[in-house]
Symmetry: D2
Subunit: 304 residues, 4 copies
């Protein structure tokens, strides 16, 4: 397995030259575009790490999965659906069009920016800070990493350049999807995006979903039903407007972030964390997708 991972990383580094690191945040543009790393944790406890698995990167949109898990814990599903749909979209992750044109003005799903902001709004907490703490604690637990910290440079950058997200949030405030102070709720969003993780952290989170909610220490963190919901939405919406292609080529529920991470969940088998900051045009790790495609085929991991 170690050899397999090693060879697949070597092979797929080739693709990183065709991608670009995110540049909208100066901090992100400093990433090494050639980096590629992976960590797999199977349900029996075996862990394999190869390549740049130890490099820290910001979790970015992968935090949307964690926020969504919290919101599912905290809310009756119907209440949640009154604010957020679970419809895949062929538009980009920060698109605002559908908030205006679809009748209900609901964000299409919790994996795009608008939906993630609405998701955070649904998490328990009297103040925005309470909501952040709640999700932060949850992410520590689901990643098994008690030292998960904010990268304050990235956080500050996100905050400074987050006007498109402000547009999304104010639009949703104007239609009653969210009620909080917009800067407060976005502050939570930007902080969550700025949490620093490694491949191991997101592999751990993926493993919990693969195990239908059971932590490696056998403690139940989430219900099976929540986990199935999350994996379904990762499959249809997790790779932004590349979700359809990814389902065909890889066939594993996954969520990407512009920091270069991908969390991939092989139900009942394995959690995978991948890191490769060179992104394709849709904002997904270009080397990471190719690596997962090979791994899926070699180990027959597709859910289909």
């Amino acid at each position: 397995m170690r050899e397999l991972l090693h060879s697949l990383i070597e092979k797929n580094k080739y693709w990183t030259q065709y991608g670009n690191v995110a540049t909208y945040i100066p901090e992100l543009s400093n990433s090494n575009p050639d980096a590629l790393g992976i960590c797999t944790m199977d349900i029996d406890g075996k862990i394999y790490c190869e390549g740049d698995y130890n490099t820290k990167f910001t979790i970015q949109s992968i935090s949307k999965v964690a926020s969504f898990m919290c919101a599912l814990k905290d809310n009756d599903i119907n209440k949640l659906y009154s604010k957020i749909s679970c419809a895949p979209t062929s538009d980009g992750f920060n698109s605002i069009v559908n908030l205006e044109t679809k009748n209900s003005h609901k964000p299409l799903n919790p994996m795009i920016n608008s939906g993630a902001i609405a998701t955070i709004s649904m998490v328990y907490g009297l103040t925005a800070n309470d909501k952040f703490n709640r999700i932060h604690e949850f992410i520590k637990e689901v990643t098994g990493n008690n030292n998960l910290k904010i990268n304050y440079n990235v956080y500050q950058s996100e905050k400074n350049t987050g006007d498109r997200n402000r547009a999304l949030a104010y639009f949703m405030k104007s239609t009653g999807i969210i009620n909080e102070d917009v800067e407060d709720i976005l502050d939570v969003y930007f902080k969550l995006c700025s949490l620093e993780v490694t491949c191991k952290d997101i592999a751990h989170m993926s493993l919990v979903l693969a195990s239908d909610g059971i932590l490696p220490n056998k403690k139940r963190l989430l219900s099976k039903h929540i986990c199935k919901t999350v994996k379904a939405i990762m499959t249809t919406c997790g790779m932004y407007d590349g979700s359809g292609d990814f389902a065909v080529s890889v066939g594993i529920p996954a969520k990407s972030g512009v920091g270069g991470g991908i969390a991939a969940v092989v139900p009942k088998k394995m959690g995978i964390g991948v890191f490769g900051p060179a992104l394709d045009k849709k904002g997904n790790s270009i080397g990471g997708i190719k690596l997962l495609e090979d791994l899926s085929e070699r180990l027959d991991l597709s859910i289909f």
Copy 2:
């Protein structure tokens, strides 16, 4: 003329029952829905006022015309066009869709909310306050009313409920159309919308445009070229997505506001100010349009 105006007001009060006063701002919802008034000022100095011509109302979107005149005075036209198009639209006045979908991300025209915010950003002034003062002074001059004041209740309401406008402004900030602090620029926008006017004020402003920029005291306030540009855009875009219908039924360059006002410009002949707070579904004074339709036909005022 007096009799004509009187009879047309009596006749067209009938239509006010089919409209509704704006309710998104509590202050606006207090307007008397039956009100209908008119003031005409012809280029030879004759002034006629009938109906509720003396009622104060907030200028709302009619201020967009004044902001646009200021921006045209302050900027090379090509610089202005690099930020704002002059394309009519069949979408509503607060639509955000085209900011995302049209290639340049420019607001379609200066008569819709997004375009007006961008327009204000183009007016000279180091600070937002400077911009407000500049446009405020200009409106005093163009309306011939030195006492033009903000209705602070409306202003506060606009500010409190202006989240859709915040969405528009942050979107434009994210695409580089505007660079100012969003709350600062919106503060100018909300203040301008909240200026209290009467039919006479907007008739005066319309008269200046009808005279190609000459004030009644013969002083030139604007170039002929600016005035033609403004009247052209009023014709294609001034009545929101009702502009096409209004051109057919009335045939006069005009701009409406959700306060119930309509400024109508008969080139080389007459400035008209109308007030009727009951609005049709597109946000235009329902009685005001009907009144102008009759007046246009009776006096052969159509530009076509």
Copy 3:
């Protein structure tokens, strides 16, 4: 005047190099891209022609004006509006999006392809052929040219490459806007687009509109009301998604065609026909617009 026209043509030939002749039809791509011609007919009977005023070209979308005049003669206005709006649009002339997304599925206006097809459907005539004959006879009368003939090569080309128009027509058939056999109604549309005219013909048609419906021989062809409606819609919609810009820069009701023609109507003064087959990106004669812009300024023709 003759000298003025001559000098303006010489000056504005410069712009033709920045445009391209239409190429979607082989026949159209054979046009001489440098050509530029004009004919003006004023209401007192004076006629001036300069440049390539004698070159034949196909009328193309300018026929939409004639079809619309016929439909207005034949129908109660409310019946017409139940099928076609008169709303300007910022989308291209062959856009299908709004037929799906706007609630009523009506074409936005009679000056774009979908609207023109619906317009033809509203003209009297038991068969499609009857409709064609009716409009053809009307165009002969309004252009004062009894010899108006179809260019059968262009017609055949239009028919062979008209799939986008078929899409528009079948969409409208599916929503009940039109009921005829689609190929039959399109056959009329393609024939009308393929009528060969010169600048003089379209200047004559424009003169009739400028005269509010009176032919040079003093016979009334159209009511004043119809003429005002047509001029209003030419102003807001006649130059496709360039209508807003044209209103600002030229300020004259006009309708363009991809054959390179522009019909421009100066109310109560003059009919103008322009020909220049090099088109800008929106499908309007690039030299023709510049020529009209200069002429409008020099003779103060703007309606604003």
Copy 4:
């Protein structure tokens, strides 16, 4: 199992009252709205049928799966992707908007009408009739039913009322996605939609996909790779704009048709055919979805 199926059908008949049979085709509106039936075939050969499993209904959009399998057999995958994307959409099954607005003008996926028409165009065959015969033979094989016949009343109805599909096809012809005669290619489409099947037939087809391409007689009909591609696209796109919800609530790759059928594939386990002609607002069998939801939960069939 038989009892389980029986009880779930009894329970979920309740929901049929909240749906409506398709009415756009007179023939479809004659279906019994209360009907609900199921057939399951597991990979070990066990077959269970309950309720209205023996009622014939037209396959409608479920034929899109079969056409897609044929196209995948006949084409290099990259050639196929040059004409059809595999992106899920939140628009309805007959939407035309994305054909215009998305840059490549490609249909978003092969499970919506536009994509299915393009798919048929990619299947081998010199003539449209050849293509029909090829897909028809394939469907006979994949359903294990050699008697599969066209319902000519439905076929004729589809043909008579298929103007929206004509609009889609002509649009794609105008952009070069398809090259065939439109009526010819639509004739294949309408014929395929009109094939009469029972729950057993579509359960059989689903079983072949569940078995990664192996027929019950152990003959390989399709490659494993094609089957995985098909199941992935069924998951993200198979239930139209209800695909996201279905993935969450049921978690099984599936394809619905407006005839009331649903083909559902439990990888490596089971093929399921469901029939219930009362449809929800998105065009999916309302009782069928509820039945599958219960079945998925009771037998733990979710792929997530």
